[in-house]
Every structure is written in C-alpha cells, then in structure tokens.
Assembly symmetry: C2
Homo-oligomer: 460 residues x 2
Amino acid sequence: MAHGNTAPAYLDAPAVTQQLARFVSNHPSRGWTSAVNKEAARTFLNWLGCAIGAADHITSNSAMAAIQVLQPAAQSTVLGRKERVDIANAAFLNGISSHTFDFDDTHLKTIIHPAGPVASAILAMSEVKGKSGQELLDALVIGIDVACRVGNAMYPDHYSRGWHITGTTGTLGAAAGCARLLGLDEQRTTMALGIAASQPVGLREQFGTMTKPLHPGAAAKAGLKAALLAQNGFTASTRSLEAPRGFMQVISDKFDWNEISENLGERFEISYNSYKPFACGIVIHPSIEACTRLHAQGITAADIRDIRLKVHPLVLELTGKKEPRNGLEAKFSVFHASAVGLIFGRASEAEFADEVVARRDVETLRGKIVATAHETIAEDACELIATLADGREIGIAIEHAVGSLGRPMSDADLETKFHGLADPILGSTQTKALLNVAWETAEAKDVHQLVRLATPQSQA
Amino acid sequence: MAHGNTAPAYLDAPAVTQQLARFVSNHPSRGWTSAVNKEAARTFLNWLGCAIGAADHITSNSAMAAIQVLQPAAQSTVLGRKERVDIANAAFLNGISSHTFDFDDTHLKTIIHPAGPVASAILAMSEVKGKSGQELLDALVIGIDVACRVGNAMYPDHYSRGWHITGTTGTLGAAAGCARLLGLDEQRTTMALGIAASQPVGLREQFGTMTKPLHPGAAAKAGLKAALLAQNGFTASTRSLEAPRGFMQVISDKFDWNEISENLGERFEISYNSYKPFACGIVIHPSIEACTRLHAQGITAADIRDIRLKVHPLVLELTGKKEPRNGLEAKFSVFHASAVGLIFGRASEAEFADEVVARRDVETLRGKIVATAHETIAEDACELIATLADGREIGIAIEHAVGSLGRPMSDADLETKFHGLADPILGSTQTKALLNVAWETAEAKDVHQLVRLATPQSQA
C-alpha cells in the first residue's frame, strides 16, 4: 500500500467517502446500545470540563484577543467565558481550550483526541440551531466514528510521518457531526466531507507550543464551515478521501480501507474512548502512576538516588524533553511528569505550572530519572526501579494505567476531575449544577441550560 | 533527500523559518527595482479583475450564503459585491472568487497561483488597518516571495504527491503578507509562519469542483488569522518549516533548502509571475493558441477531420477530461479548450459556460481531437497537426504561448482582460476608473478609493 514518487497510486479504492456520508446522513438516532450512548455522555462531559478549565489560560486569552479583531457576532457560547462569538469561532476557541491542558479524551488505538474537534463544532452549532441533547449526542457518536475510522485506516504511518492525527481526522469528524446536525442528505454530506478533506490540520512539530491545541480548534472550525458550505450548494469531489490524489493517499502511506467500512453502523469507535486522570499526554500516564505509588509508600524526593523507567518507545519520542523550560514543555517531559507524580502524588494542571517546573526540588528529581524505550512494553504499561539513597531498590510494574481501557475512570472519577477543572472558573455550586445537567444531556430538549451553566454567571 | 517510513528524517536543516521571518519583518519598503514594483502592480491588478469577474458566480454565491450564517461584521470589502464581511471572511471570499475562473496569475516554476492567497488576505487587512498602497505592494511582493520560495523548494515532488501547491504554500504567503502589514517583529513573524504551517490547504483531487478555488480562499484566511494570533501572543515552533516533523518534510519528499535562502531579499519570485490570456489552466494555453491560429486562418469546425496535439505530460495529467459535463469540468479538458479556441478564436470565461460545453458542434469537435504526451515538449509549447476533410494537413508549432515568460501579456492586454472580467459587474465606466486607480496603487495613501470602485455602486 505504500507509495512514493515512483510507486503507482492506489487507483481502485472503494468509495469510502460515500459510504461514510451514507452512514452520517442515514443512521438512525440513538441507533446503538445504551452503553454507547452512555460513553457519549461521558465523552461529552469530560470534554466540557477540559474546555471550561482552560478558559482563562494564556492560550485561550491570546486566541480570544485575535478573534475579537474580527468583531464576531454573539451567536454561540465560549465555554467558561462571558464573551460570545460567531458559531465558527466558538468552535475554534472551544476546540483550543479543550486541548490546552492536554487533559481531554483519547481514542487509544490512534492517539486521536476525538472530542476536541467534534464536540466543539457540534455544540456551537446545536446552540444556534436549537438542537436537542440527543441530536447532539448522535452527532458526537457519528462524528467521532468518522474521525476514528479514518484514523484507524492510516495509523500509525500517518502519525509517524509527522501529522497530528487529531487535527487531520478531526476536520472530517467535525464536518460529519455538523452535516448530521444540519440534516444534510447523503450527497451534501459527501460534499461536506470533501470540502473538509482539503483542510487537514496539524504538525507534530508544534507539540509543546500553543499551536498544538490550535489543531483541534482549527479542525472544528474548518469542518463546521465545510458543512455550512455544503448545505449552501458548494461542491467537492465525491472521492475526496480515497482518490489517488485524495486525502488518505496524500497524507498517509497506509490506507486500510476495511477499517472504514467494516461493521460501519454496528461497531462504534467511541466505545474505545478513554479519559485521562493526569493533565498530560496519555503515553506518560503509566510512569506517573508508578511514581504516585512511590509517593503513596511515603517515599520522598530526598530519598531517591535514581529512578529507572522502562517505557514504550513512543514515550521518549513524544515526551523526551529532559529540561522543560515552562509548563507547556513540561507536558512533553516524562521526567517532569514522573517527578511531580512522586513529589505531589498527582499530576493535575497545577503540577504543570511554570512555577512548579522551575522549583529546585522538581528540577533535581527530574535529573535523577532515566527512561529507556522497549518495544516489549505496552503503551499503557511501564516498569520502574527506584534506587534509594540508602541503597534499597523498589520495583513497580504498571500493567494497565488508570484511565486505560483495561482500567477506565469511573463516573465518580470523572466528576472529581470535572470539579478540579471547572470549580476555579465557575465555583463549585454552579459546577455541581452543570454536572447534573451534563449527565442528563440525552434527555435535554436543547442545550441552552447547559451552555448557560458552562459560563460564569454574574452574582444575583 | 527523500524519506519514507524507514528512511531517516532530515535532522539538521537550516533555520529557514527564521530566515524568512527576518526577511518579512526587516526588508525595507520598496527594497527592490522599479521593475519588481511594476510587476507587483500588474499582479495586483490582474488578481483584482479575476476576483471581481467571478463575484456573482454560483461558487461565490454559495460561499457567501454559508458565510452569512455567521453574521459577519461589515469590516472589509467583498470584491464585486455589495455585502461587507469581517476581515477573515473577506480574505476567504475574495480568495475563492479570484480563482473561480482559473484565470489568475501563475508562478510558472511551480504552477502556484500566488496572488489568490496573498492579495486576498492583505487587501482585506489593509482596508481595515488603513495601510497605504505601497505597504500593500510591499506585503504582496514579500508574501509571494515566501510562498514561491517554499514552493520552489518542494516542487515538483510535493505537487506530484497530490497537493494543490497554491493552497499549501499560500497559507504561508498570506501569513507573511499579513505579518508584514501588521508590523510584527521577527519573533512574532516566526510564530505567524509556524501557526500557518500547521494548516496546509488543498488536494488536487478537487480539481474541477468548487473546492479548487476554495483552496486559495481558505489559505488566505488561515494565514491572516495566523498573523492575528501571533500579534496577540500565540506561539508555535520556531522550526515549523524545516523540522523533521515540520511543514516541508511532512508534506513533501523534496526540500531544497537553498531555494529558500539563496539571494533572499535580492531576487524576487514575483518577477517570474505570469498572467493568463485564456480562462483555464496554464498548461492548456499552447494548445488553445495553436487552435486560435487555425481560426485566424479561416478554418472552421466543419473543415476538420482530426487534430493531433503533442503536449507536455502535465497537460493530460491535469486536463485530460475527454467528455466534460459542465463548464467547471471543461476547464480541465484540453479537448474542450482547444475546440472552442478553433470555433470562437478565443477561450474566455464565456467559452466555458455550461451551454457552450453542451453545444453539439463543440462536442463533435472535442471528439476529433487527440492529444499525446511527450517529455520533449516544454510546458509553454505544443505541436499541432490538423487533418482537414479535404485531406490537407496544417502544422502549427507554438514555441512560447502568449502569457508565458517568453511572451508576457502587455499592460494593454491586461487592461483588455480586466474589462472583460469587470465590465459585466461594474459597468465599463467604473471599470475604467478602477483601472486607473489600480495602476496608481503605489502612490495611494490608502486603499479606500480602490475598494469602493471595486464594488457595484448604486446609481446616483
């Protein structure tokens, strides 16, 4: 399947663009098990907390300042903030803030963060179009299915090449979700997917900068506008995904068409979504958890001579920053994340603050951690050996990190995480009310109460 | 330099992102010969006519309908129309309309249409920021230089892979032009280029659909917003173009860094820009011109038994549609374009109307044309042999088609073309006044008179 300059392109690919469009436009509302609908609610709630939590971060403030230059209409809610902006820029800003803490959901088979692009687009659209909570969840399940199936077909080659797969597939997921919400027919949905296909977003080179969270935001906006353009008669190729010069063959050297069509409408990729207990890339979580277990045993930084970690190769590839200079870079440092795991017993957003990164004890402990890559270690596992100052050795093996599919976060875990994110922005009382409304999304006649509770309310 | 899944990435690339940022932010105003400034005025004027000419096309109307859903602020002019929209969407809409007729400029070394993304972004920005005509031309020269130098570095491999190089490099060109207009320093300009680098736009699979002209529009908008984000403190990698997982290595198998840095600030790529006499892809122009010469000799469609064309291989690759079904597809048919060249003696927008595509005599003549690809034929050349019904053979060789660098269109040619495009929208009197103002862009204190004349005025 690989191709280069000389190898022939794959000329007779199946019509996956139209297959997906048919699914998006025709699949019945709630046409899946209640477990799938529940996972949609969990995905939505987790995303909502992340977006609110970073609402006042410098990344969100910077993006908002740029958008204000455009004098946007007050159409849709920016989560966690008082400003309202137009539908497309609400999708953009919420997509950015939901990924700013790197605390959002992860489709583990592809490392896609699917809610960022999809939920950001469909919530902004649902608010203006008066869509019901179940219509929102329908669009979420379907949009995520499109993004993750295309991701499955290209992963890992596409990601290895340097694309941030969340943004590239997210544009398609956002377009699918919005096409569904707008009730586009199969033909117009094909056009929406095609328009979106021409706008893949995201380079891995940006990891550690504000442009990483920009990727789901830009994908959300491009997908949303693709659906609006298609609704208004704009055209694209009907084979935008599979053609020799279409999306998949251009941006990937692997394209397993079966991953798109197999059990389409029967198996839903949102079922394989996961949520993070730690505010950084999923690949570091096993290492952090191992270090939090040292903390739980009463081990302190002063006790440590060195820590040796055996990790999956992606850990060093993605998060190998030995000396992070600030909080954003620290999220891409297995050394920092492990160090705070031991010192504080957790790795929430607070442990990635610039001040914590600069702390002498954290810096010293980072320098005592050595990580080595092993093909035999699974992505959700790690092995730790700590040598203490007194010569003792402690070994800890994590088989499935918390938050992995083998050990998913419970609903109560998600609520605790949500409070941690939203309480500083909304206050705990309003956050609790919002949580109750968010869990009941499937029954809501529209999303207005939800978005009202998701923004800071003036004191009565 | 090529890389695949297994080949190592190019790790020690020169810092071209920062080199370009330094050039964009520091190069003096009008720091080039008067010939370069004149070419900038020609490029701008040609682009302006194209954008106005397609202002009422179904593609522009469809895009405008979608944008109106967002209730944009009335900040900037949409060329040839009465509606005003926000800066970013003005860049988007003007970028679309300027490429809708495929009649815009071409940087022949790369087949980039550079004005679409760059001029669309900087005119919308200049209008709101009160920039002078020379500041606009500075941003045009510099933005086009960035886009085309990056294009030179990747062409032809990047294009062969399936990318529409106008959109991919155009995002960078638009970001550079807007960073220049906003007066961003070297560091913020580096950020603007980086943010833009994460948003390459455009698949060749879309050729023949409305999404082809969407590419420069989406690139213009993404680049403009990248500059606004950078101005407001948003960050990106400082090595977004050259890093192993940066723009160039991800989207191309060729990256000749020298093409970016060599004679930067001394040689200007806008000098190699060209303008089209025919309303379709540049690669078909030699074939059309050969057929217009048959027309000039008094040969009619009824006289033809068959026409054999020897053409550059790209002609069939890009424009091999044997039986176009509508005007948009006809632009990608060397057979249609050649047929109307013979029948009408020209190939302006009118000859690509759906009604002309459906005409029996045009269809019959298309069927009598055979084109074969030859590596030995240059891109701006072709050889034609027509066999007439009476057995006579006529041979015509085009060495350099009109509009090529070897035979550029004169200023008078550009004015004639401009009238052909703008008269139906603005009337010939206003078009003439606009032409006079457009030629004087370098002396204008701002662009307000120009954009006023570029929109339909209510009768006094």
